[in-house]
Assembly symmetry: C2
Homo-oligomer: 169 residues x 2
């Protein structure tokens, strides 16, 4: 991908919209693999966050380019995301790809904050970068717990005492 | 409040349940003051997270003390939370109290992780401490954005371009 500073505003918005569509799709895929209600809710929240970001960028696109039809790139610019959406991966692998994607989004929005000359755009990209970083932290914490208690995502409600299958550390 | 290590398991669970009830009530109060749909969703997510924690602790209470009636403390152990729930505060002030409460929860769960001898309880308290820290980060990012764009929470959808009322930095 070209560095953010070499992209036109139109390209930026198209790339951002595609990345948010893919991220939402990835969380949708993960939700289907999980039985635990709390984890499902967390993933649904992440899906909704990415949908809200997509909507924000689509409103921005319409405002800035009212006469241009939006052309969302067909392929994700991140190969591991493209693969995750079309292949059979384990839940853990999907967590890892989602975390990578969140970090890339954070980086993309941080770069855009740096090259934006408009104060509000700068603040909004900084805000979005921190939101994506928060998603990364949330996923990391969930994955860490999941690795210690693999039964966590398979039981509707997971309790302090459900340690029949307890493994490591 | 006594240090976590001096509390009985029963006291720990009662305090945690009360804190999660209060946190959920605070987010409910904040949701009513906000028009922005995305921010409303974020606060509703936080409310649901605290409800899920409460349910987790209530299940644990029933498992550990099946014959003891749960007695939730009437007053919050955090004066600013008690005040926030019963006084008229601005949305910004509520954000600040909520952030303080999240940090205190993080501290409480971290201490419990340190004094727990059971591996799963230790891991679960560490996990919960990080969840509450994530809530703190989310609130801080929202409050920061809100301070720059006070109109953010008052408009149903906030856009990059809605900078008619733009203030600072």
């Amino acid at each position: 991908m070209k560095p953010a500073r070499d992209l036109t505003t139109l390209e930026v918005l198209e790339i951002a919209i595609k990345a948010e569509i893919d991220a939402a799709a990835m969380y949708r895929k993960m939700i289907k693999m999980v039985k635990n209600k709390d984890l499902k809710n967390r993933l649904a929240f992440l899906e909704n966050e990415e949908k809200a970001h997509r909507a924000l960028f689509e409103r921005e696109y319409k405002a800035k380019f009212p006469d241009v039809d939006l052309e969302v790139p067909k392929k994700s610019s991140v190969p591991s995301v493209e693969e995750a959406l079309h292949k059979d991966l384990s839940l853990k692998e999907l967590f890892e790809v989602a975390m990578e994607a969140e970090l890339l989004s954070e980086k993309f929005y941080s770069e855009l904050a740096q090259v934006s000359s408009d104060l509000q755009a700068t603040a909004t990209y900084k805000y979005l970068a921190r939101v994506e970083h928060g998603h990364y932290d949330m996923l990391e914490n969930e994955l860490n717990y999941l690795k210690q208690f693999p039964e966590y995502y398979q039981s509707e409600y997971f309790n302090f005492d459900d340690n029949a299958y307890h493994v490591g550390p």
